[in-house]
């Protein structure tokens, strides 16, 4: 398809109201061709509404959605060059696998020759490794297989954009990680723009190359997975994407020093313009040891719980005056002597530069 734009999808000041409820508020978003975008957020944040506006199942109340540079307002779903993998797959129960996959091709005008349809369906099934299942009934397939049928049914049409609505939510954990890799590979091989909706931050971070974190109908942060994780734009993102320890603090010395509730002080990683602040620190950025670490921030506490996770372990540590901390320790990097148990007195240390400081008012 001749491209009119370098962006496959564009949101221009898009607002969507359902009666008095605003689901999406003034969203601007560009998705470049060939990108893998993840819309990430808690349920009700508007991510699914955005996806459905791309698919044509909803129309924006204000603003415009563009696909390949073309404004799509008023264009119904069946005239849009995008395809969707539905949350519960939405396979047609009265058709077999092959008929499901061929459905979109059969609707195309001008008509596609029957032989071509057969060939493309076979290719698509092969692509999702379901060759040999063509005549199966849908209810005879496992959840993972149904998921692949849904994928084949969408991809066989060679859409310019593939929309995925929580496609892996119904799968068990092991199958989910396998499918994550498979989807990523497919996306890279096909070069199609993927838009994935998920509430699972791990899934978003592992698969997408652009993550769009949403909350209450707005975009909170847009960026590469690592950037979003390492430099959360606000406290919400910090909390939602990965785990975070929060420490309340007062700013001193013109915003250069953070005075914590237990009286200790640490230098601020960046200056903040308010008096009250929240310091956010990732569990894995905290180091657990039996002795006080000389440089950086250091607090003494008592281990209250330990959760064994195989390659790593999580500790809950109570620090008097500051509350409970969550600490993740990678076993491979830990000294034998640092293996602690509930009831042990420990020291927590971290590099103040790894702590993010946000105004308390955004909490």
């Amino acid at each position: 398809m001749a491209s009119a734009s370098t962006n496959d999808i564009e949101f221009r000041s898009v607002t969507k109201n359902y009666g008095p409820v605003t689901a999406v508020k003034d969203i601007n978003l560009n998705v470049p061709k060939g990108a893998f975008l993840a819309l990430l957020g808690p349920s009700g944040c508007g991510k699914t509404t955005c996806l459905r506006m791309i698919g044509g199942f909803e129309q924006p109340s204000e603003g415009a959605v563009l696909i390949d540079g073309r404004e799509m307002n008023g264009v119904p779903a069946y005239r849009r060059p995008v395809n969707m993998v539905f949350q519960h797959y939405a396979l047609f129960p009265h058709f077999n696998v092959e008929q499901n996959v061929a459905y979109g091709l059969k609707q195309m005008r001008p008509r596609i020759a029957a032989g071509d349809i057969d060939r493309r369906v076979a290719e698509a099934l092969e692509m999702v490794r379901l060759d040999g299942f063509a005549k199966r009934r849908i209810y005879e397939m496992s959840g993972g297989q149904q998921q692949r049928v849904a994928l084949a049914r969408a991809l066989v049409n060679r859409p310019s954009v593939l929309l995925l609505d929580e496609p892996l939510a119904a799968l068990d954990k092991k199958l989910r990680s396998a499918m994550q890799i498979e989807l990523q590979t497919l996306q890279r091989d096909l070069g199609i723009t993927f838009v994935l909706v998920t509430h699972d931050q791990e899934e978003a971070l592992s698969m997408a190359d652009i993550v769009c974190v949403m909350s209450a109908g707005r975009i909170r942060q847009l960026g590469a997975p690592q950037e979003v994780y390492d430099h959360p734009a606000d406290l919400f993102v910090a909390d939602f994407v990965g785990k975070t320890n929060r420490i309340e603090a007062k700013l001193e010395a013109g915003g250069a020093t953070l005075r914590l509730a237990d009286g200790s002080a640490i230098p601020a990683s960046k200056p903040v313009a308010t008096d009250e602040a929240i310091v956010a620190i990732r569990p894995e950025a905290i180091r657990l040891s039996r002795e006080r670490v000389a440089n950086g921030a250091s607090f003494q506490g008592v281990v209250t719980h330990r959760i064994f996770l195989g390659s790593s372990a999580e500790y809950a540590v109570n620090v008097p005056g500051l509350g409970d901390f969550l600490v993740t320790a990678d076993r491979s990097t830990m000294n034998e002597s640092d293996l602690v148990a509930p009831g042990d007195a420990v020291f927590l240390g971290f590099d103040p530069a790894a702590a993010h400081v946000f105004p308390a008012s955004t909490a």
Binding site: F57, H88, P93, Y139, G143, Q146
Partner: protein, 271 residues
């Protein structure tokens, strides 16, 4: 408990079995079984009044069930697209059509039609160019209309339940796969709700075929099979009635079994 349950099944089926048994009675008395014979079926089948009543019943049942299936399905689909308030009005009216006793439906239809005919007939007579103006009167039309009311509500209820179970997502999936709304309806929605429509049709047919009380009021000079059976029961008891009753039972039995088969739960395509 098993004994009790067995007893209930015996209770449910013994009377039916007796009706059928005595339909094969060789004697002319309905109470003493003399020997097997199909003569009463022969008698019944060559009884012109009975055959006329049967024909009327079949015409009425088929027409009202077909109308109910078509209009009821349309309504079930249309109601999905209505606003909540309008939909509630429809729900209420359909519920009323089901809950209001048949005897009241019969009466109300009779009263209304007689009034309407009383108003229309003179008008027709006045404006009719020919000598023999058509006269509206009770008959097929009024039975079909009154049966259609209940059965349409029945079909709407059944089809609506199926549509609700259908989920919006396969409709959206079809739309996503370039199918225009009409195509989606034909290829996705219709095949999915078809068993319910057929089941609704069969139940509607059975209802109409078996109904006595509504037809009793609005049949006019047309006799339906239940009206004929009712009159025969009152007039006298020969095994011919049993033969007729057995045939009536056989028809509804076959239809209801097919309807149940169509409406059985299918495995859902979910994990």
């Amino acid at each position: 408990m098993r004994a009790l349950v067995t007893f209930v099944y015996v209770f449910l089926y013994t009377p039916i079995a007796l009706v059928v048994l005595f339909s094969f009675n060789a004697g002319r008395n309905a109470s003493e079984f003399i020997g097997f014979s199909a003569q009463w079926y022969g008698k019944a089948l060559s009884n012109t009044f009975l055959m006329e009543a049967l024909r009327n019943s079949l015409i009425v049942a088929f027409t009202s069930a077909a109308l109910a299936a078509i209009f009821g399905t349309m309504a079930a689909i249309g109601m999905e697209r209505l606003g909540a308030r309008t939909r509630a009005v429809f729900d209420g009216l359909f519920a009323a059509a089901i809950v209001v006793p048949g005897v009241v439906i019969g009466i109300a239809t009779l009263v209304a039609l007689v009034e309407v005919f009383g108003f229309i007939n003179p008008v027709l007579a006045a404006i009719w160019p020919g000598d023999q103006p058509p006269r509206l009167s009770l008959g097929y039309g009024s039975i079909i209309a009154a049966h259609g009311l209940f059965t349409m509500a029945l079909v709407t209820m059944i089809v609506k339940a199926r549509i609700a179970g259908l989920g919006r997502d396969i409709v959206e999936a079809s739309s996503d796969l370039y199918a225009a709304p009409l195509t989606t309806f034909r290829q996705i929605v219709l095949p999915q709700i078809m068993p319910s429509i057929l089941a609704g049709f069969l139940l509607a047919f059975t209802f109409s075929f078996d109904d006595f009380i509504i037809a009793f009021f609005v049949a006019g000079s047309n006799t339906t099979l239940p009206i004929y059976v009712f009159a025969s029961i009152r007039r006298g008891v020969t095994p011919e009635i049993n033969a007729i009753a057995t045939m009536v039972l056989a028809v509804s039995l076959a239809l209801i079994l097919i309807a149940r088969f169509l409406m059985r739960e299918k495995k859902k395509p979910t994990t």
